[in-house]
Each structure stands twice: as C-alpha cells, then as structure tokens.
C-alpha cells in the first residue's frame, strides 16, 4: 500500500467535496426526518426472525453518538460506531483540505492488498453481526 499527498489533477473528481457533501446532506436529511416526527425505519429481518440484522442499532448508535454517549453508541452497533467515527475524521480532514486548498491524501493498493481488505471487511461485518445476535435482547425491548 502506498499513501501519499498529491495535488488534484485538472478535471479530477473532488472526492473530499463529494463525500463531505453526501455526509452533511445525509445528516441534515436525517435530522429533519426525526425533527418532523416521521416514522423510524423498520428492519424487516428483525420483524420476520426476531433477530437483529447486521445493521440493526445503527440509527440508535448515531443518535447516541450525537448525544455524546460514546459507550452507548459502541454497544448499540460497534461497526456502525467505527464507521461514524471514520466518517467524522474524514469530514474534518475533507473540510480542512478544502479550506486551506492543500494536497489530497490518496492511497494506492495492490491487487492482493485489495483482496485482503475485502476479506477483512466481510470478516468485520460477520463479527459485528455475531455480536448483535449475541445481544439480541437489546433489540427486543
């Protein structure tokens, strides 16, 4: 894996701006959704089986995180908690490089490294699901 800072090429997609926009847009939409009292998303897997799916608790983890309850957010869905933290760090970085017009951080992975990353992502997803299944009682209250 090679990590480097380089300038954005002419006409190159500004990924920092794109994903910062998407995350902020998503956050605003979610805030308005809940502020208007619209219904919470229902997990059909949980409705059908009574067991949580791999992403159950992600909404509650986000809400706990925004209330500053880090431990609670972690317990609701560890993977979602880590993703939210990563998004937060990325947004801070993206905002910083966009404001100061600095070089962009890029990583280059070889094919074998990409394969390892894919396998790791699936493993993390499965481990997270195993954790949620072991704590099913949290979602049946």
């Amino acid at each position: 894996m090679q990590v480097f800072w380089r300038p954005l090429a002419p006409r190159e997609l500004d990924r920092e701006l794109l994903w910062l926009g998407v995350t902020i847009g998503g956050l605003v939409c979610a805030t308005v959704w809940f502020a208007l009292g619209l219904p919470w998303p229902v997990c059909w897997f949980h409705e059908l089986t009574g067991h949580p799916c791999a992403t159950c608790g992600a909404t509650r983890a986000a809400i706990a995180l925004f209330h500053g309850q880090l431990l609670s957010a972690l317990l609701w869905n560890p993977m979602a908690f880590l993703i939210y933290c990563a998004i937060g760090i990325f947004d801070v970085y993206a905002l910083a490089v966009l404001i100061v017009r600095r070089r962009r951080l890029r990583a280059w992975f070889s094919l074998s490294e990409k394969r390892i990353l894919r396998v790791s992502a699936v493993a993390i997803l499965l481990l997270n699901w195993a954790y949620l299944l072991a704590h099913s009682s949290l979602f049946n209250g």
Binding site: P7, L17, G21, V22, V32, P41, W44
Partner: protein
C-alpha cells in the same frame, strides 16, 4: 526511483515507474497529453512536458487512443482528453445494444455506472435522444421498485416504514392497491425522471454548472436511476445503499457530463434537498406553534 502518477481526463491510470511510462508512451498505452505528477512537482503536467520522455513521444503522431476519422469508438472506452474536443464520446454499452444484445448491454452499463461512474460518464454521449436512456432508467428503476413492492405485498406489515396502525399502509398491503401501485410505477418513474431532471438542470443553471443542455442532465439521471435503483432489492439496507450511491453517481455524472466541477454538481443535487429541508424546518417550527396557539 520516483514514481509517476498518470491521469487522463480526470481519471487516475495508476502509479508507474519512469521506465513503465517510457514503455507505455512507446507502445501507445499512454498519450503525450496524459497528465503526470511526481513528488516535488507543484502541479500536474502533460507527459510531453517531461524532459526525460521527449525522445519517447512520436512527433506528429495522433493520440494513441484517438479514433480514426469516421470510425465509432468502442462503447465504454474512455476517450482521451485531447480527443474529446474532436471525437464524439464513445457511448455507454447501452447505446450499442443492437450489436451487443439487449441484456448484456444493460448489465454492462449497470456494472460500469455502479463500479466506475467516472469512466462511465466520461464515455456517456451527451446527445442522442431521450428515448434510449428513458428505457434504461425505466427498466432498472421499475425492477427495483416492483421487486420491493412485491415483497411488501407478500409481507404487508413489514414495509420499510411499516406502521400497522397506518391505514394507508394497510390499504397498499391489501393487494388491489398494490397491483395498482405496481402498474403505476412506470408512469410515476417517467414523471420523476422528466421533472427531476428539470429541477436539477435549473439548479445546475443557478450554480453556474449547466454547460450542456437539459438532454444531458436527463441522460445522467436516467442512467443513474436505472443503475442504482435495482440496489433497493439488496437485503437489510438496500434502500439506504441505493439512496446514497445514487447521490454519489448523480454528482459524478453531472460533473463529468456537464464538464463542471464537483462542487457545483454537488450543490445542484443538494439544492432541492436544502430548499425542502429549509421548508421542513420552518414547518417543524410553525406547526407546533400553530397547534399550541389554536389549543390555547
């Protein structure tokens, strides 16, 4: 040895050693107009301006990927930056479905837009009529929605926004309403595509990013919807994935097709949301106040 980053039409081709770039230029894999950057350089430069490659660039030769006059570029191929001014865009596989076959062309386009949106929208033709992209958008969009609605028909109480106390959900889940909904999906989707493209195009004009016609915006929206809406059927969080990815693909598509910057494209896509959210916030503040005043 310093590694050289090579970029064509805003798409990274990778990181190569000096020797690789030299060999690539000789073999025609890289064009003299491709941009290069290595550690220590302030900005990107065309490879032709790298002193060490001067001997490897054939003088007066056309760009390696340029299409001969009168020939049609391979569908899905990325036309180099210099060629875009004179050579028409190669088009998505869907544009060439007569020779490729209907379903292979559909799936190739879908995979290309989902996995390589930048390349897809650099290759997408900006003109050529509304009918062809509309058919693509309707096939992909209707497939995603109808499979989702059929699922709701089978299990009416577990809609994504399931609410057993909601009579509307009950009505939709009753069967007859569902059949009506399924029949109406193509109609509503067509309206959404035309009206949505108009709204986004107006937003693009507002932010100064509309460098092409409404047709280009419409084509971007159709290929985005047709490619991302089938993701709705992914178990667990298909709706979320489809929602987020369609936003991303749409922004990339508008930036590439209108040749505007990502910021303007993102702003154009989010402008309706910003306006609606602003309206929603005002409603959220006003309604409780009105209810309170009416009650007292």
């Amino acid at each position: 040895m310093a590694m050289i980053h090579v970029n064509r039409s805003g798409t990274s081709l990778g990181i190569f050693s000096e020797e690789d770039v030299r060999a690539g230029l000789r073999a025609g894999r890289f064009a003299a107009t491709d941009l290069g950057w290595r550690e220590g350089m302030a900005q990107w430069q065309p490879l032709s301006q790298f002193a060490e490659f001067a001997a490897d660039i054939p003088s007066g030769a056309p760009p390696p990927s340029a299409v001969p006059a009168g020939a049609t570029p391979a569908p899905g191929a990325v036309v180099p930056a210099t060629a875009t001014a004179t050579v028409p865009r190669s088009g998505l596989p869907w544009d060439n479905r007569q020779t490729r076959g209907f379903f292979p062309a559909f799936f190739e386009t879908l995979v290309m837009v989902l996995t390589k949106p930048t390349e897809a929208f650099v290759a997408m033709r900006r003109e050529g009529g509304l009918g062809s992209p509309l058919i693509y958008g309707l096939i992909g969009g209707c497939f995603g929605y109808i499979v989702y609605l059929l699922f709701m028909l089978l299990v009416p109480s577990i809609a994504v926004l399931g609410d057993r106390g909601n009579p509307l959900t009950g009505l939709i889940g009753a069967g007859f309403g569902m059949v009506f909904a399924i029949v109406m999906v193509p109609v509503f989707l067509t309206l959404i595509l035309f009206i949505g493209a108009a709204i986004i195009h107006v937003c693009l004009m507002i932010v100064g990013g509309a460098n092409q016609t409404y047709e280009t915006t419409f084509r971007v929206l159709c290929f985005t919807v047709g490619s991302t809406y089938p993701l709705i059927i992914v178990p667990f969080c298909g709706g979320l994935i489809a929602g987020v990815w369609s936003l991303v693909v749409e922004i990339i598509g508008l930036a590439r097709a209108h040749e505007t910057d990502t910021g303007r494209a993102a702003l154009a896509v989010f402008l309706p949301v910003i306006v609606c959210c602003g309206f929603g916030i005002v409603l959220a503040i006003m309604i409780p106040a009105l209810v309170h005043n009416t009650g007292s």
